[in-house]
């Protein structure tokens, strides 16, 4: 009896898997449409559709009225930025988890987020905004990764354990530097700006910011996508991977650089948004399984949908903007707890 039930549920899962990508893509499209029609400023959804439709046919014009500008200059770039950031953070997490063969790894583990956070905070302290902030955040995220690479390379070889330890060290070091900046920051001016930025928000999204964010994120996504077969091999143990002709060392670093590109850029444009890289790949694994050829696109779609929805809550629940990092942690931690229990129940049963 129970065996039969098990088989039917397996079959149900299989059929679910066949239609799962169109369903996820449709879910993302719906989430984005919803996000674009929702806002503190009242624009009827039919008017939103009209505005988007008109613009789609006439890309040369510029928005004149308040509702056109709200939809085209505020909501559209914000929703798109949230979508690519969500995809990038989720894929970054999924790729790192594959490389480390550990489902608890996230971009924070390599010290990338902390490095980026330090760069951004330093920019604010020095009075820079916009592009400079973005650049410094990215450069320091990259610098953190280079440090990790340098520290973890011993006698020409890099062990996974030393990478994780080096990542922790570098992360802790940059976290301390961020505290130093907060300590010396002016409580009247730069300190509140640093704190706000660190908590994460898309409230300053513009087309220009989107333009700055997309190349790095797209490049990172492309690298992981191209390496999706290799990720399956990297997820095997070291000796097995070598015997299959993989150079684990080199390909791992491709993944690390891709993850840094994606995380560093997202920290630069929206501050530190945690938990996406941890929660979303797990949810994706429950739906499509462990195979990275399916896991990577599923993580991208789910991550984009998740962050678009979270950001919609962040800007609409109250007159005040709720920091994204707070929401993703408040929702992410309990969801992750449930996912983990399910994961262990299933693997325990198998």
């Amino acid at each position: 009896m129970s065996m039969a039930l098990n088989q039917t549920s397996r079959r149900a899962q299989l059929s679910l898997r066949l239609g799962v990508f169109p369903a996820m893509a449709a879910g993302l499209a719906l989430a984005m449409l919803y996000a674009i029609s929702a806002g503190r400023f009242d624009v009827p959804w039919i008017r939103v559709v009209e505005i988007l439709w008109t613009r789609a046919w006439d890309l040369s014009g510029s928005p004149e009225t308040m509702d056109e500008r709200i939809v085209e200059l505020v909501r559209l770039p914000r929703v798109l930025l949230a979508a690519v950031s969500g995809a990038a953070l989720a894929v970054g997490g999924a790729a790192l988890q594959g490389v480390f063969r550990n489902p608890l790894v996230s971009p924070q583990i390599l010290g990338i987020s902390q490095g980026g956070a330090f760069g951004g905070a330093l920019a604010i302290l020095l009075g820079y905004h916009g592009v400079v902030l973005l650049g410094m955040s990215f450069v320091f995220g990259m610098f953190a990764l280079v440090l990790v690479g340098f520290l973890s390379r011993i006698n020409g070889r890099t062990e996974m354990l030393t990478v994780i330890l080096a990542g922790m060290i570098v992360g802790a070091f940059f976290a301390a530097l961020v505290s130093v900046l907060q300590f010396i920051a002016d409580p009247n001016t730069s300190l509140p700006a640093i704190v706000y930025w660190l908590m994460g928000s898309f409230s300053t999204a513009t087309w220009a910011r989107l333009g700055l964010a997309v190349p790095g994120m797209a490049f990172g996504l492309a690298i992981v996508w191209l390496l999706r077969y290799r990720l399956n091999l990297l997820a095997l143990d070291e000796a097995e991977a070598r015997s299959l002709g993989v150079n684990p060392d080199r390909e791992r670093w491709f993944i690390f650089v891709a993850a840094t590109l994606m995380t560093g850029t997202s920290v630069a444009v929206a501050g530190v948004i945690g938990w996406i890289g941890l929660v979303v790949p797990h949810a994706a694994r429950l739906i499509v399984g462990e195979d990275h050829r399916r896991l990577i696109p599923a993580s991208a779609l789910l991550g984009a949908t998740y962050l678009v929805l979270i950001d919609t809550f962040a800007r609409n629940l109250t007159a005040a903007e709720i920091p994204l990092g707070v929401l993703t942690a408040l929702i992410g931690a309990p969801v992750f707890a449930v996912l983990l229990r399910q994961h262990f129940k299933r693997t325990g049963a198998a």
Binding site: G39, M66, R75
Partner: protein
Amino acid sequence: MRLPLLVSAVLVATPLAADPIRFTDHEGREVTLPAPAQRIASIPIPMASTLIAIDGATDRLVGMNPTAKSAIVEGILGRIFPEARDIPSDITAPNFIPNVEELARVNPDLVIQWAGRGPDYIDPITNAGLNLMTIMYGTEDRTREYMTMAATAMGRPERIEALIDWRAEVQTDMEARTADLADEDRPSVLYLLRAMDNLRASGTENNYNAWYHILAGGRNAAEDMVGGWADINVEQIATWNPDVIFLNSFEADLTLDRIMDDPILSLTSAAQSGRVYKMPLGGYRWDPPNQESPLTWMWTANLLHPDLFDYDLRAEMRSAYQVLYNYDLTDADIDEILWMGMQGGQANYAQFAAP
């Protein structure tokens, strides 16, 4: 409405009374000083310039917050009192945690600290055996209380009386003129405490800016917001569509362009009618409560209701600076404080121009 010149103030600079000074501070602490404090260290930021104003001199200020010092040195007080550059500012980090060793080194007979922030801010000072007075930030009542406390500690009751009377007089006058104002005649006012990266608006609850906007005949555009402060987005501002926007004077790089170049904010009623202004930066920033607050109220009232108010702001500033800092403001000083160069062309702003 003008702050009257205090001739007596100069005469009673050193009180002869030998009785100890006693008063209660904002944490209910009984403060006892054997004699008027001669060496005062101030940890809260706005208090440093207030102490200078109460005394009309910098002599008794022996330590202050580094942020207060940079504000003084960079602003007009730095020109009036060039010696303020040499006052130590390492008695505390900008975050108000006292540095006891440095405090002990400057040997103050009174330390002023924020109230209500817990023992970490207080205990190091009292454990070092220093006299402590705590102050609470926020409302007009508290401001008058802590200004009075400071004056009492300094043995300058005659000076503080005039400063408090001035505040009360201006407040009463403004209340009388706006008493019959209907709700729909009150322009909605948005004050942005931050505008460079994130947008932070003032709520109404215990918020000083909202308080004087209402006093001057406005209403808070963000009145439905919970709490004293909140980070908001441009869409929310579009929804409120304020009649007047005031930009803070804390962010040095902030100019009217922030509003006028923004695709959304430039469409608000305030931007369209030229009623966007940056808060002046005088002896202290005009946004939060301080010794110059009545000038802030008058500036605000003249802008919100040119029909109801016609304070001669330049004359008011001259007499106030004469009393507070014993300084004769030049026309150039006033233009600089009021940002005439940047916003002289804004709606109703010509009234502040030099005749």
